[in-house]
Homo-oligomer: 283 residues x 4
């Protein structure tokens, strides 16, 4: 149970995203307002796309508010797609391999929430992962397992469908084991071009998720705001809780939805988990 | 600005002291009720007296609530004098050499509070430290500097006088540099036999400090409490905020006081900083 | 590929075992003479039996030669059964959950060596682990997987048979995947009463393993050695490379052998891996 | 006692400098050929100049060969001035504040070597540091003290003179305390435009230092080497021990010399420590 931020737009210094706003993600690491936990001090991670084919990752087990390397990096790295995540562990060890975002080729993945009773159903879920992908699992979190399930179900071709199948499987297996509400959370994933975000929980009471208002609209609202002038029209933030304090800047993603931030018109759709019958048989 | 606990009494498993009580020190590391900061996640330390002449130390830069080695140790180590400290840094780096308790020979020292504007007056204070002791300073905190000042002023012979001179010097030097209220805090120190505790601030608004009620009295209040039966009559805790929830178990140390826990009758006295003219000239 | 030490005997301060001898384990962490790697700086671990039912563990990702907490602990903890391990990673991440010794209830396990091509056969091996034990796997090493296979095959009832079945399975699965020599290494395991040690490799060229000469014999050889006078007659060390420099003190464990250190007569037997047909079918 | 590398030239990916060559700095962290110590596993640091006014720093207490964040960074950061340092501690604690390079404004500083008997003369040296600079000292190494002495003596205006005065002071103070050969080592410092390198020891037996042959000459020697074609004519490396295996690529810096790598003609001069009478009186 964590907090995260996903950015797409004009290249910005990480520092402006991570430390700049009131109620910034780093501030939230010490004092989150909306999270299930106030403190998210169990490690953090940042991923960004630079000159290379694959994104860069920085993972640390120190609390984000303390990490000097993060501050240094953030003051020197520019990127136009950024994922950042602060962790409040729900039980799995605090180690770099359990820090989000997770990476597979060009893809990044991060998650705020949990698979309930994960210990009881982990083996069934892991068995459903493509054996070719299995050795790539490095940590022990439910979130990384879910990522590999989504990859197994075609994340790289059709992200919404793959995530709906992955969570569908979690629900199938969980229900079979007597877990009433197997899944809870918000997810972001990207291939470096588009960002897909998901808000869903089996119980229908998902963790919060917000996307930023269109920059053109914000500029009309706040004509004197200099930061907004520098951003291109397509710049967009998705966050687990609002940053800054501009009224009108944030819109809640509705319960059981997924959206995509992409060149051109962004989209939002209902999220409907889809049990994968074959995979669920295999487990 | 931190939280701490000092115990003297029947040998106990560290686990009972650190994790056992409601609002235990480990719980406080995530959610302190009385502290200036809610989270004390910038490292911690434990010191205890075992079979050796000098006490053992365990220092870590991970948040205490996460540290698996602390939990292991706490489950296996018994001691009759224990110091434990969780840190919320006021600026100096989070590194093991900045974790309390500090040690000199058989002595331990820990501090909750700060020397205001320490950067401005640090050099003057360090110059007042005995040159023989100077090379033993390993970290960069105000608390360790204060410890070495107290050692310089005879901590090992007369702790109350040495601490009164050390804080007196801090006030003299601070005032000279225009700091209105140079010192704030509570301190505990021990030689493995007695524990001295201090509550003082230049402003007269010191951080909280509590000592436990006499075990005999507590047994009368709570005749059915099993834990109390196991403790010897002299067992005593001093804490920066109360543990557990037994009414009558905790007594606030008055503003500007020092006390000593010792075999026989414990004592409490007023604390009056004493400017050390010679040392203050030297600086 | 690592170095380890197992001790059983009169209670000793860990410091004497870990730091005392010439070519001590801590010295080996910087400069091993016999290991496949000279440096074993990828974390370490110590396990010991104290007053509690289950053994204590201390795991760290710092190099052992640097770790101040290890030195503190070692100077204050006495134990009569001690396991210590320094790691040179063969690929899996340097994190506490990958540090030996591993623990299950009262049992400890450590390993110097590797399962060749572990990534390719890991899934098959993990599938053979008892589903009840599966959620207890916290790290990603071949050694921890092997431990859980041995537990699955009855380590707690008959250690030699369980290890022979576990390594038998590794060889069966490895051969099926085209790995010529699937296993290599030495293993130590204990329940807090006896210590079992194993030396085996599929190729018949196992890493080195030595056990100490009977203390009575050593006393006759070195009548003036004070340390030997303090040890009881049953004290025994097993190490991956000899400590100290007493001629006659160390005996090589023969290729493909297992031994047990126990109250009364110690024993040594040939080690013959035994393929577990049922488990291998299950994978 | 450490190893380091300083690069100035065409922008390169840090990875090519740190991991690319045979006997690369990362390889040296495990197995140095020429160093006083084979293993340099006590932390490391990298500094580089990017888009900002001040250089970026990355410091870690993990051995460099293990650090995943270093590998990530190195694969994504380009720079035209790079300082990298791997540490083998001579006693001061392994903590980020003791990792080189050290920074002051636009300046970086790193050092391989030591001030002999530093504990005995540290106080005298620290007293000679400009009181304005004193609070900026964060760690406890001799190298950082030397840096602040050089800053006190005008490093930012005339680096060779400032370093000669700083080491002169070390020798004056050391001799007064009975240290025969007070200083040993090689130093690199930069303001982001030029790099100054120093090789000196009081005994006249300094640690090794090499600079790379002029790129034009190397291209003639190795016309088919693609890497050399990409480098501009002014690109230059200074290293504590040669990288790669191109004969003719490395030239030893003579004993007791300093050199500067700058736009236009590089220079080399004799190094002559200069006792600073005033500063030495002050101490």
């Amino acid at each position: 149970m964590c907090r995260w931020l996903a950015y797409s737009g004009s290249p910005v210094l990480l520092e402006e995203l991570l430390y700049g706003p009131k109620n910034s993600l780093i501030v939230q690491s010490l004092h989150s307002r909306l999270g299930a936990e106030e403190t998210n001090g169990d490690g953090f991670g940042v991923g960004w796309y630079g000159a290379q084919e694959t994104p860069a990752l920085f993972h640390s087990i120190e609390p984000a508010w303390n990490d000097r390397n993060l501050r240094e990096l953030a003051g020197h790295v520019n990127a136009s797609i950024v994922f950042a995540h602060i962790r409040a562990s729900t039980g799995s060890p605090v180690q770099q391999t359990n820090c989000h975002p997770f990476r597979h080729g060009r893809w990044l993945w991060m998650h705020n929430g949990l698979i309930y009773d994960f210990h009881a159903i982990k083996r069934d879920l892991v068995l459903a992962i493509d054996p070719e992908l299995y050795p790539a699992i490095e940590g022990t979190t439910d979130s990384e397992t879910l990522f590999h399930l989504a990859l197994t179900f075609g994340l790289e071709e059709d992200p919404p469908s793959a995530v709906q199948r992955a969570i569908g499987l979690v629900e199938t297996v969980g229900h079979r084991r007597g877990v009433e509400y197997p899944f809870q959370g918000t997810i972001a994933t990207t291939d470096g071009d588009c960002i897909w975000a998901f808000r869903y929980s089996s119980e229908g009471k998902s963790r919060s998720l917000f996307f930023s208002t269109d920059v053109r609209t914000l500029r009309e609202l706040y004509p004197e705001n200099l930061l907004l002038r520098d951003l291109d029209d397509e710049s967009r933030l998705i966050v687990s809780e609002p940053l800054g304090d501009l009224p009108g800047a944030w819109n809640e993603v509705p319960e059981s939805s997924w959206g995509v931030i992409q060149p051109g018109q962004d989209e939002m759709h209902p999220f409907v988990p889809e049990a994968d019958v074959a995979a669920s048989r295999a487990s």
